[in-house]
């Protein structure tokens, strides 16, 4: 089964997104910030990562930059899932190594569509 790491400091978002991603056939792992996510990626790389931008300790942007510099860090498909809607920030996220980008609020159709565009389902 494919694995998806859900990185968000909001427990509610992790729970809602986790349910949707499970329905798409993924096993989910959770992380509460970028550093926590990086630690989990060092143990085992997931197939997909759904990551928020603004988080304490390490934000999503720094996490993706660090992830892409790790050995085999280019392998997971990274989808940002954030309230940030500014075009220039989206461009920054793509340049840092994100594959797709979801703007909150989201629903199951959006996650499914973005996962399909990223070749995950």
């Amino acid at each position: 089964m494919k694995t998806c790491l859900i990185v968000d400091d909001s427990r509610m978002i992790r729970r809602v997104a986790g349910r949707i991603v499970k329905d798409l056939g993924f096993e989910t792992i959770e992380a509460v910030n970028g550093q926590d996510a990086l630690d989990k990626c060092q143990l085992e790389l997931p197939d997909a990562i759904l990551v928020d931008w603004a988080m304490p300790i390490m934000d999503g942007f720094d996490f993706v930059k660090n992830l892409r510099e790790m050995p085999r860090g280019d392998e997971p498909t990274v989808v940002f899932c954030t309230s940030v809607r500014d075009v220039s920030r989206i461009v920054e996220a793509l340049a840092a190594g994100a594959d797709e980008y979801i703007m909150k609020p989201f629903d199951s159709d959006i996650i499914e569509s973005k996962f399909a565009l990223a070749g995950l389902v």
Partner: protein, 315 residues
């Protein structure tokens, strides 16, 4: 408010629901189906609110009591509006990208071609075509393309003309890189950039009409609607479309859709695909039966000489 009996959580009387189904079949040739009561109510309640009626019942009462044609078209448009999103039929877009556009470019080189999105709803399909053309601009160098989107007059078509979409709409089917490249933000909405918008013209038209107000097209995309039409309406709409496609032009149907037994002047491009090519019409000269043929000849071809046997000389 009407004192009609209630049906579960739905407010519309069953007799009205049946009348709406008949109206949609007559005007648009589309079978709503028996299990779409919730969809009917949701869409009509929104229309009733937008048109300033006190309730859904008040709007439907007026529709059937006064029989206003404008309201009838609005109601049918709301009921038949396709729930679409960007690049919804990926197979159809793949056919456009891999077969249709390269072939039209190869045959015509430069020049101008016309593409039609038939039943374009809120405009995602024709705008998707324009984005695809922009991405293929080097491959299709010299080819100028006009895109027309047609559908019944509706609020969806008005939104298409504006090119304005919610953040939910732009996140269905549209890759993030396309969103960044072809849209700009306007408050909470995303608006199609002018260079894409300028390539697309929207026209409201009755899809079952003669369609003679439209010019010919080199390719027509008609995806997702065909299965919803009644059998007579399907024949009518396909006959109309057949007249719109130029010779050697293309008809692109949706995933799993086909012309069935009838061909309407089209040949299937590859087996089991919804891609069709319009036949070239060979004009046979009419023969005047009163015309006398000299010497009983039926052809101007000279009598062929019989092959002569080679004489072999005895040595």
């Amino acid at each position: 408010m009407s004192s009609m009996p209630r049906q579960g959580a739905l407010s519309l009387a069953p007799s009205y629901y049946d009348a709406l189904r008949r109206l949609t079949l007559e005007l648009a040739g589309i079978n709503l189906g028996a299990n779409h009561a919730f969809l009917v109510e949701t869409r009509l309640a929104r229309l009733a609110r937008e048109e300033g009626y006190d309730s859904l019942d008040a709007m439907v009462d007026e529709l059937f009591q006064t029989g206003g044609s404008r309201l009838a078209v609005q109601v049918v448009s709301a009921l038949t509006e396709r729930n679409t999103h960007f690049f919804k039929d990926q197979t159809a877009f793949k056919r456009l990208r891999d077969v249709v556009l390269p072939d039209l470019h190869h045959k015509r080189g430069g020049g101008r071609i016309r593409l039609l999105s038939f039943g374009c709803s809120s405009g995602q399909e024709p705008y998707g075509m324009a984005m695809l053309l922009h991405q293929m601009r080097e491959e299709l160098e010299g080819l100028k393309v006009d895109i027309v989107g047609v559908d019944y007059p509706s609020q969806a078509l008005e939104r298409a003309r504006e090119g304005r979409y919610t953040h939910f709409e732009v996140q269905r089917g549209l890759p993030i890189r396309d969103l960044v490249e072809y849209f700009e933000t306007d408050n909470a909405d995303w608006v199609v950039k002018d260079h894409i918008k300028d390539q697309v013209e929207f026209r409201d038209i009755h899809l079952l009409s003669k369609l003679d107000t439209l010019d010919d097209f080199h390719a027509v995309m008609f995806c997702g609607s065909l299965p919803h039409y009644s059998a007579p309406a399907r024949v009518r709409v396909l006959r109309g479309l057949s007249g719109l496609v130029k010779e050697n032009g293309y008809l692109i149907l949706g995933e799993g859709e086909s012309l069935s037994q009838m061909n309407f002047g089209f040949d299937r491009v590859t087996k089991n695909s919804g891609l069709y090519k319009k036949r070239e019409v060979i004009i046979e000269p009419e023969i005047d039966p009163t015309l006398k043929i000299p010497n009983g000849r039926t052809t101007f071809e000279k009598d062929r000489k019989k092959p002569q046997k080679l004489k072999t000389s005895k040595s």
